[in-house]
C-alpha cells in the first residue's frame, strides 16, 4: 500500500470540503473494497477521507412508503433491522448474504453502491426495488446511477447520503454465490409493485441492469412459468475463466424464476 494522508470527516460538510481541497482524495466508508484495492496498488490516492463514523449517515427509518437507509449503515445493521425485515425482507436477506459476518460488521450500503462492483449485491437490489440514491447534490434513480463497470453517475465531489427504497407488495432476492469469493456470480431481485414488476440483475453484466423482458412477462403474470421461455441475451454480459456469458444469461433466468417463486 502506498502511503496517503488520512482524515476523519466529522460530518458531511467536512467530507465535501476535504474532497474538494485534495487533489486526489478518496472517500472511505467501511473500507472493505478500498483497502484491498490500495493493498494491490490498484489505487494510490493522495488522501483517504474516512466518512465511516459520520453518525448522521447511519440508520434505517420508514418514511411514508419508503425505507430510507443512511449511506454509512453497515450490512449487518440492514440485515438485522426490524424495520427492513418487516417492510422489505428481501433487502434484509440480500444484506445478510454479503461477504461474511466480519465483513458485514464493516461494509456499508453507500460504499457498496458508490464502488459499483459488477458482482456486488446492493446494485442489483437497488435496480430491482427501484431505489433512489440521494447525494449531497441531488436524487438519482438507480436506473441512472449504475452506468458501467465500477462506474456510477456520481460526480467527483458528490457524496451518497442515503438510499430510499419504495416498499414493494412482495419481493425476493436470489443469489448464485461464487463459492470462493462470496460475490454474486448472478444475483436477481424481483419486486412486485402496484404498477408493475421490476427485475434487477447483478453479476451478469458490467453493471447492474433491469431484465425488461422478464419484467414485461411478470407484470402480466407473476409466476415462474411466465418467464420460463423468456431468454436473456448473452450479448454484453461478462465472461471469465469460471463462467461464460451464455452461462450467466442462463443462470440469470434460473435466479429470476427462483426469486419469483420465493416472493410467492
Amino acid at each position: 500500500m502506498r502511503n496517503f494522508d488520512y482524515h476523519v470527516a466529522s460530518d458531511v460538510k467536512a467530507a465535501e470540503a476535504l474532497l474538494k481541497a485534495k487533489e486526489d482524495g478518496k472517500l472511505m466508508a467501511g473500507g472493505m473494497t478500498l483497502l484491498p484495492t490500495l493493498k494491490q496498488r490498484l489505487a494510490a490516492p493522495s488522501d483517504v477521507i474516512d466518512i465511516g463514523s459520520i453518525s448522521a449517515l447511519k440508520g434505517v427509518k420508514k418514511d411514508g412508503n419508503e425505507i430510507v437507509i443512511g449511506a454509512m449503515t453497515r450490512h449487518f445493521d440492514v440485515a438485522n433491522s426490524d424495520v427492513v425485515k418487516a417492510n422489505i425482507p428481501a433487502l434484509a436477506s440480500l444484506a445478510s448474504q454479503i461477504g461474511d459476518p466480519a465483513v458485514r460488521h464493516r461494509g456499508t450500503i453507500g460504499g457498496s453502491i458508490a464502488n459499483a462492483d459488477p458482482a456486488a449485491d446492493y446494485p442489483g437490489g437497488c435496480m430491482g426495488l427501484g431505489a433512489t440514491i440521494v447525494t449531497t447534490k441531488r436524487k438519482i434513480k438507480a436506473d441512472d446511477f449504475f452506468v458501467g463497470l465500477f462506474e456510477t453517475s456520481l460526480e467527483s465531489d458528490e457524496i451518497v447520503t442515503e438510499v430510499r427504497f419504495p416498499i414493494p407488495q412482495k419481493a425476493a432476492y436470489q443469489k448464485f454465490r461464487h463459492p470462493a469469493s462470496g460475490y454474486a456470480v448472478v444475483g436477481v431481485m424481483v419486486a412486485k409493485f402496484a404498477d408493475g414488476v421490476r427485475v434487477g440483475v447483478t453479476g451478469s453484466g458490467p453493471n447492474a441492469f433491469r431484465a425488461k423482458d422478464f419484467e414485461a412477462a411478470l407484470s402480466k403474470d407473476f409466476s415462474a412459468r411466465a418467464i420460463e421461455n423468456v431468454n436473456l441475451s448473452a450479448d454484453g454480459l461478462l465472461s471469465d475463466i469460471h463462467f461464460s456469458a451464455e452461462y450467466r444469461a442462463h443462470v440469470t433466468g434460473v435466479m429470476a424464476r427462483r426469486a419469483v417463486a420465493a416472493a410467492g
Binding site: P36, P101, A102
Partner: protein, 161 residues
Amino acid sequence: MEVKLTVNGKPVTATVEPRTLLVELLRDQLRLTGTHVGCDTTQCGCCVIHLDGEAVKSCTILAAQASGRNVLTIEGLAKPDGTLHPMQEAFREHHGLQCGFCTPGMVMMGVDIARRLPGADEKTVRQELEGNICRCTGYQGIVQAILSVVNPAAVKDHHHA
C-alpha cells in the same frame, strides 16, 4: 500519526503511518502475535479480532480507524490467571484445531457467534464461519466446539459421554 486505543483492556498510544493496518500495529508494534495473517485479502479470517465487541478482520482496517476504540485480541480472552475462556476451553475439549494457524480467528469468531446467535443450530454455525478458513481439520471439531458453547444440545460427538 498518533493513535490512542484500548487493547485488551489497556490504554495504548502508538505512532503509526496512515497506511498501517490494525493487524500490523497489533503484531509488529505491540507484539501481540496471537492474531495471525493468513491471506491479507479479507478472506481467511485468521486475523479476526473484536472491535468494540464485534468481530472484524484486522488485516482490512487501518490502525487509524481503530483510534479511540476498544480492541480485543486472542491474548485478551483468557483470565489473567490463565483460566481459558469457555470458547477456548471448548476448542481444546472438541479438538477444534490441528496446526493452530486459523485458531485465534476461529475462536474470536466463535465468541462473536455465541454473542449474536445464542442457540444457533449447526447449519447456522457453519454459515457464520463463511469468512474463516481452516486447511487442516475439515471444520468438524471447530463446529462442534462452537456449538458446544452456543447450543450444547446440538453437539453430536459427546466423546466423553
